[in-house]
Symmetry: C2
Subunit: 389 residues, 2 copies
């Protein structure tokens, strides 16, 4: 069994799910639905296994994947979802499964045949829409069965139930936690009206828009794509063959600084890096981005270069407040000390990740509290202990 | 002309130099020897151009590369080094070279035919030895000519002069700055005894040793290699085909926790990440690394996992002081908020970069002073103004 694709960006896992749906494969989707203790991945982590045992995605860094391939083949044969619990708590010997590769925690995994019931999830993801995928783990002997699925749209608060009786779903009681998880891109198992439901908040991947076409852009697009940003490269006049030059980008387009707001969707999910190396282009671009109030504008160059831009803004009567400028990061990137194109790109992507995840970039060693904060889910659920049911 | 290789890790540029030396090519090496203002790269940045105009390495993010290809062909034909200065200061129009791609600063570039006089540099790099490459820019009408080269070994303080009269070199006056630049991996143009010399401190790339063979290791090796670490993957019992599993690693080996210090060179240039997911293996590995006083030991897992290890250390009578533990980072990585394998790897490599470069990881926006600190070079040199001569 090839290991080549075990660890890929999450966006690739979702893409693979869509490809396999399109191919009418007999893949099995394995999802971590609950954890206790210190597990490698959070609830929502996914792995897709085909009939040859080839996997995409990684749930336990390798200690359970072989086991899961076996269970997946049983699920494939039976055609029914299964819920399995693995107690991987390290004992003093540190040796679990006799593999010499210890693992941590207790994890509960739902394995199910991948079917068209999953289509709305991948469509939302591709369209850049947040969605919460609600899957029944235990129907409590009612009309719903394990594997039944509904979709919660956080924008209009509606619950769509493609293949089951809408009335069977506790839509109102579910709405609060579903909306919260969808917005945060987190997942949890919740108990609502006696039903045990896995609510998987798939938040649309953030978009990184890179303005520039120099040799320093490629490394930024590569690293950002690996960290699950949808990447767009924007060039101005004279830019040709951008898609060929930047194969790691999802999209490439040529426009003019004045048309940025027209040609791009600048919103709350847009993170921009401005690196055209042209003062006027950079200035016009920064202005358009600040006007659109995107959450992050990283400007390459030293601090005083932006001070000159501010003078220009003031002269044209467009003065930005400190609040408006709080989303501007210049010089761009974290202070990691590197000077090569990839090291600079690494510091830029690290900064964007921190801002997108609302974290203060510092050593985890220095941070209080757990690494993965427990998901607190409101009314009707008791997911916050992380105890498997 | 293909742009595919313009931006590659610096280690690849040096590797390419060695390959082209071995191939007896007619390549031209272009090196930034001095800068003024805000240039894209620091002195020491290199680009190698072959007769077809294919380049590896990037000096100005694209605004001068075409120009340099032209100059390189002239240098190739003439067979003599040339020193060229480009004044790229942005004017108010921000438009330099009519390309619509503005650039910054004043840069001075030495272009020279790549010859065997460069061999000692790539050999030292490959052997993991620091070296300062000293190249004459202006011989002041003395016995030395532009392009003449000597090598300073910071370990024994010796200056070797493969192709020129040793007496012509101001070895004593040069020693201080050469040692300093070699240790820091920085470069500068210095004036010593009337000679204008470019001193390029090539410090051996730091080594990242990753202990573990799970699916989370691959992303760490890939990102670290791109950021110019020499990467070694270490597996313990049961690990097979590591080189195949981790193609981005420079080296892979299987050993036992008790033999780490024997099978690996653990020194001041070693940065280790411990992620075997096996408590006992991790504990023995951490102990060996702390005993060897390597500058960085990143341990995956939550904080209390290490507290258990400390208890075990205490029980066996090996208590580490706070000073010894200052090089331990657990939970490993910077707080960037990501949870996927690549996002975790990104945070780990970001942390190692910061520690290796002696930086406090924070937004550059929040840091005082310039991004690239000016190189201060001692006695006999006046390189600190960065003004080209």
């Amino acid at each position: 069994m090839t290991q080549r694709n075990w660890s890929v960006p999450e966006t690739e896992v979702v893409q693979r799910i869509r490809d396999r749906l399109d191919a009418d494969g007999t893949d099995v989707l394995a999802t971590v639905v609950d954890i206790e203790g210190n597990a490698y991945r959070r609830p929502g982590a996914k792995m897709l296994l085909d009939a040859e045992g080839t996997g995409v995605g990684s749930i336990t860094a390798g200690c359970l994947e072989d086991e899961l391939v076996q269970v997946a083949s049983e699920v494939r044969a039976a055609g029914e979802p299964r819920l399995v619990t693995y107690d991987l708590m390290e004992d003093d010997e540190g040796d679990v499964w006799g593999l010499g590769v210890g693992c941590n925690g207790v994890i509960e995994v739902l394995l199910e045949p991948l079917t068209e019931t999953y289509r709305p999830a991948v469509s939302a993801f591709a369209d850049g829409r947040d969605v919460a995928v609600v899957t029944v783990l235990d129907g409590d002997d009612g009309p719903l069965e394990r594997g039944d699925r509904a979709y919660y749209d956080p924008v209009d608060g509606s619950l769509s139930t493609p293949a089951a009786d809408p009335a069977a779903w506790p839509a109102d009681a579910l709405a609060g936690s579903a909306a919260d998880l969808a917005e945060r891109g987190r997942a949890a198992t919740v108990t609502v009206d006696g039903l045990t439901l896995f609510v998987d908040g798939l938040s649309a991947p953030p978009e990184l828009v890179v303005f520039g076409t120099g040799h320093d852009v490629g490394p930024v697009t590569e690293l950002a794509a690996k960290s699950d940003f949808r990447v767009t490269v924007v060039g101005f006049r004279g830019a040709v063959d951008l898609a060929d030059q930047f194969p790691a980008a999802d999209r490439a387009l040529t426009t003019s600084p004045a048309s940025i707001a027209d040609d791009l969707t600048l919103g709350g999910n847009t993170y921009a890096v401005v690196m055209t190396h042209n003062f006027v282009d950079d200035r016009l671009t920064v202005e358009a981005l600040l006007d659109a109030s995107v959450p992050y504008v990283g400007l390459m160059g030293p601090r005083d270069r932006f001070e000159e831009m501010r003078d220009a803004f003031d002269e044209e009567g467009r003065t930005f407040t400190e609040a408006e400028l709080s989303s501007l990061y210049t010089p761009v990137g974290l202070d990691l000390g590197g000077g090569s194109p990839y090291q600079i790109a690494h510091s830029i992507v690290a900064e964007v990740l921190a801002v997108a995840n609302d974290r203060t970039p510092r050593h985890l060693k220095a941070r209080e509290g757990p690494i993965h904060e427990r998901v607190d889910v409101d009314a009707g659920a008791d997911a916050d202990t992380g105890v498997p049911r």
